[in-house]
Symmetry: C2
Subunit: 173 residues, 2 copies
């Protein structure tokens, strides 16, 4: 089992825990999309994760203490996945990844809106977001500010604008 660590460097250790092509995608979907079940993570995945890879990542993230799982009272065989505190503290990292990606990668305009908003909001917004996640995932009290709401509003507005635009484009074809 190649579980031994390559070095004690914090950057390296972070890479070893979440530095693969899927772990942060799963965490992103739970975090920003509030997808809590296996099936929603699988089917609503923008990047089309394979079911075996998803199962494997959930297992690893549970083992690493980044996620927790409890059974869903409404369905005997479902589990509800929640972010643990270490995963919630990935918010600044994900925000930086979003900022970098929208500058240096061919990101889609609509999907950039949230990244841009999170960048403009800065650390204060990240902290509010983390508080909200603690409410949703760790039974902390509901904070006043809803960053998820702000992100959703901005995203919906951008999606509507894009649809209007593509309607117009379709009409002129």
């Amino acid at each position: 089992m190649g579980e031994r660590r390559r070095s004690g460097c914090p950057i390296n250790l972070t890479l070893e825990m979440v530095g693969d092509r899927w772990s942060l995608i799963v965490i992103r979907d739970i975090m920003f999309g509030n997808r809590r079940h296996f099936r929603t993570l699988l089917n609503q995945s923008e990047e089309r994760i394979a079911s075996n890879v998803l199962a494997d990542r959930l297992r690893r993230l549970l083992a690493a203490g980044l996620l927790t799982r409890r059974s869903d009272p409404t369905h005997r065989q479902k589990g509800i996945y929640s972010l643990a505190e270490p995963a919630i503290q990935l918010v600044p990292l994900l925000a930086q990844m979003g900022s970098w990606g929208l500058r240096h990668a061919p990101a889609s305009e609509t999907l950039c809106v949230r990244a841009r908003l999170l960048e403009e909001g800065g650390p204060a917004m990240w902290r509010a977001f983390m508080d909200e996640l603690r409410h949703l995932h760790l039974d902390a009290p509901r904070p006043r500010r809803s960053v998820i709401g702000e992100l959703k509003t901005a995203f919906d507005a951008a999606a509507t604008a894009r649809d209007r635009h593509s309607d117009r484009a379709a009409r002129t074809e």
Copy 2:
């Protein structure tokens, strides 16, 4: 060539460019260790990267525009690898990875010193560091502040302290 993009999400695109187990290690070593040649990246690698993997990563990072390569005037067959601007802008991301790793992973005390300093310095220190990197890699003017110097001083102090400690431990064995 599995080069097609999975989605236009900025986080996903960042992952696709540098979200593997080695790319950011290579960039980290060039950035913090100022290792500019193939051999130094290979032999001084804390994590013992294999030469074929290193060659592959350098090729990819060059193709992605994160690194540049020029030939070394002192040795006909050597190349000097430099960070391009997009790689320099990974500083905040690497800083966040360091911060997360030292909190949530079993990071070595000595190697944590730099991550902690970079965290305490905050965005102002990151900006100074990026300016210094632009001087070292992009022929920008030398800035007043040397973050690399600060990091080295702190690291050396920690290493000395650790050595003293292990000497003492050895003596009492």
